[in-house]
């Protein structure tokens, strides 16, 4: 069966598509449709592009001008609202401004005054919604969909594949993996999960025939100062990097849900494991002390490092 295997960089991450199709023509068509959908999402929601809706909303911050939302963007905000509610305010799409204080390449901690001022610009609760319009009340406030944009794109691309009749394949957007369908012979994909302290090595690989796997970790961008790790995941209440969890992976039907769950669990820090248990999705975590847990690890392993062998 013809197979397409492409690697590219999109949404700021390395991406990989592996798709099986009935013919090369079908695969070319799907590849083009996926590329155009990725391009559409990037153009519409990038905070770096001047004419994206995110930029327009951010540029109107504090001006009193409301920005009108189309259906898709309205639903993205509704999703952000749900994630905010369900994380008790930890998952906050206005927390991106905190990045201005943190330069992980500098090896220096931020100025605490600057961080305190930036914290005043964080707060999804303050964002004004009026029917189908939105406004950020303070100059300098920003929203961005970085917290779930990749996962959203992965789900949408899987949808594009299904629309084109593809029933076998995998979409990996920077480590967030959406299964289009098992291999043509029905066998599952083996999806590796990075070891947070040795990211080039897989600490487990999960057989997945459907659904999605998302991973969030403290190894993506970080600096170490005096042996302490400061990672890019910032607590919206304090502006400081979260501590406790090193990496969390979750399996869910939608990549969006899996990704949001991993982010919330990371933000919950030491209580993340308990939150994941309550959530009820298959999961796996590694904390800063290399302790591991979660339903995706086998209950008893003859050797502690044995990888998980089952997933839903």
């Amino acid at each position: 069966m013809p197979k397409l295997h492409t690697r590219l960089t999109a949404l700021g991450s390395p991406c990989e598509f592996q798709l099986y199709g009935a013919s090369k023509d079908q695969l070319d068509e799907v590849a083009a449709a996926c590329a155009s959908e990725l391009g559409r999402i990037e153009t519409k929601y990038s905070r770096y592009l001047d004419d994206s809706i995110v930029t327009r909303i951010n540029q109107s911050a504090g001006t009193g001008t409301f920005t009108r939302l189309d259906d898709e963007t309205k639903n993205l905000f509704a999703y952000a609202q749900t994630a905010f509610d369900q994380s008790d305010g930890l998952f906050d799409i206005t927390s991106g401004v905190l990045r201005r204080a943190w330069d992980f390449k500098s090896g220096r901690l931020p100025n605490t005054d600057e961080l305190r001022d930036l914290c005043k610009l964080v707060g999804w609760k303050r964002v004004e919604m009026r029917g189908e319009e939105i406004h950020l009340p303070r100059p300098g406030m920003e929203i961005d969909f970085g917290g779930f944009g990749k996962e959203y794109a992965a789900d949408r691309l899987a949808g594009v594949c299904h629309q084109h009749g593809i029933t076998s394949g995998l979409i990996d957007l920077g480590g967030d993996v959406c299964i289009v369908g098992p291999h043509p012979d029905g066998s599952p994909w083996l999806v590796g999960i990075r070891d947070p302290r040795d990211p080039e090595r897989a600490m487990a690989s999960l057989p997945l025939s459907r659904g999605s796997l998302a991973t969030s970790g403290d190894y993506e961008r970080f600096m170490e100062i005096d042996g302490k790790r400061y990672c890019h995941l910032l607590d919206p209440r304090t502006g400081w990097p979260i501590t406790g969890m090193a990496a969390v992976s979750v399996v869910a039907d939608q990549c969006l849900v899996a990704g949001t769950a991993t982010t919330i669990a990371m933000l919950k820090g030491h209580s993340g494991a308990h939150w994941l248990e309550k959530l009820g999705l298959p999961y796996l975590w590694v904390d800063g002390n290399r302790r591991t847990g979660g339903s995706l690890w086998p209950k008893r392993t003859p050797r502690n490092e044995a990888p998980a062998t089952q997933a839903s």
Partner: protein, 422 residues
């Protein structure tokens, strides 16, 4: 700077859907709402999976009271219906479905009405109990979905030992105003051939035909997030043999039946119906109210009103739905209807059919529906059971009837369905 007061809490509640649900259910439903938004804004799509449904229904009329009958069997009609539907996608813009119905019917039916020899109310003469009759119906339906519209067509055949009907039609929907408004319309026709058993004897026709054409147009408007208003109007023109070959009418000048006429109705009928529905969703208790009103008028001078309320109560994240229903119906009589006639009408028309008599009815019942997702081999199941009780009486009519038709019927109706999506 202008100060804008914004009702954040309300907008947020609308977006967030409350905290009663589990975290997972909340995130999943928000994700589905988001992923369900089509960027190419196509109307509704074709069915995505192969779906199969099986339905069984049992309709049972109460026996007619001994005191209301003069002749024949008192046990009335029973109908058992089995229906199988298979639907599936054809292309990424079209779908197709096939329905097959098998019905078996048995019991006695009203034959004619005569004055009670003791001088009381009119009484019903029933037919003898019929042997079980069978009806088969097969229909093919298809839809094509455009970006903002749907076009559909259907064709079907229905047959009994004394009846054959061929029917077909087209229908469509057009969405506009960001899908807040939907216009719909349809055109259908049917050709029926009637060959009554024992035709040609006792004044009964040997065979005849009727045709009908129906036209309808509708308008649906989403008024706000939780309210939808729908209204539609339909017109039906029937022509040909519109009588009932198995019924007769009595001539009884002196409170005694002296002659029996064959049921004879006009050979055309023009019917107009207007239906209005309001649906209101109550988010805080996860329930919807549907209120329907239907007005019907035809050139047999029969006017009817139907008022119906249905309450859709969802439980356990919509996995279980309970729908209690209450319906009131009232009709006036057809102009040529009489329970029995003192003398023959000059136009030769005659019918004592209780369905053309003045009466009202109450129906009440409930449906319980359960969904099971990702069950048995990752299929989605839906099971529903529906029970309805129907009580009819001339005294229930909006305007009081002079004489009760003794054939008015009360019935039980049970409907069980199972749907599977693979």
């Amino acid at each position: 700077m202008k100060i804008v007061r914004v009702n954040n809490r309300k907008a947020r509640r609308r977006a967030g859907r409350g905290r009663r649900r589990t975290i997972l259910a909340s995130l999943s439903s928000a994700a589905l709402a988001l992923l369900g938004t089509t960027t190419d804004s196509r109307a509704d799509g074709p069915v995505e999976k192969i779906e199969a449904a099986y339905a069984f229904s049992f309709y049972s009329e109460d026996s007619i009271k001994e005191s209301n009958t003069s002749l024949g069997d008192t046990s009335r009609y029973e109908i058992e219906t089995q229906q199988v539907t298979v639907a599936g996608p054809l292309t990424d813009r079209s779908d197709v479905a096939f329905d097959f119905i098998y019905e078996s019917m048995s019991g006695a039916t009203p034959w004619f009405v005569e004055p009670d020899p003791s001088g009381g109310q009119p009484v019903q003469a029933m037919s003898g109990a019929t042997v079980t009759e069978k009806r088969y119906d097969g229909a093919l339906r298809g839809n094509y979905y455009f970006d903002n519209a749907r076009a559909g067509a259907h064709f079907g055949v229905s047959g009994e030992n004394d009846y054959l009907a061929i029917y077909s039609g087209v229908n469509g929907e057009y969405h506009l105003n960001e899908k807040n408004t939907t216009l719909s319309g349809g055109l259908s026709f049917s050709i029926d051939e009637i060959k009554p058993t024992e035709g040609g004897t006792d004044g009964r026709i040997k065979s005849d035909e009727k045709q009908s054409v129906s036209l309808n147009g509708g308008f649906s408007q989403i008024l706000d997030r939780s309210t939808t208003l729908q209204t539609s109007i339909s017109y039906k023109h029937s022509t040909g043999f519109l009588s009932d070959p198995y019924k007769k009418a009595c001539i009884a000048p002196n409170a005694t039946c002296t002659d029996l006429l064959v049921d004879n109705r006009p050979d055309t009928r023009n019917q107009v119906a207007w239906l209005t529905q309001v649906r209101k969703h109550f988010e805080f208790i996860d329930a919807s109210l549907h209120a329907n009103y239907r007005f019907h008028y035809d050139d047999w001078k029969l006017t009817s009103h139907t008022f119906e309320v249905e309450w859709f109560q969802n439980f356990f994240d919509d996995l279980v739905q309970v729908v209690p229903t209450l319906r009131y119906y009232s009709q006036s009589q057809a102009y040529f209807y009489e329970p029995f006639y003192l003398s023959e009408r000059s136009d030769g028309l005659a019918s004592s059919d209780y369905r053309l008599s003045p009466y009202g009815s109450f129906s009440f019942g409930a449906k319980v529906q359960m969904r099971m997702e990702d069950w048995l081999g990752s299929s989605d199941w839906r099971l529903a059971i529906n029970y309805e009780r129907h009580l009819a009486d001339a005294d229930f009519a909006l305007s009081k009837a002079k004489v009760k038709n003794p054939g008015l019927v009360n019935f039980h109706f049970v409907y069980v369905t199972a749907d599977i999506k693979f």
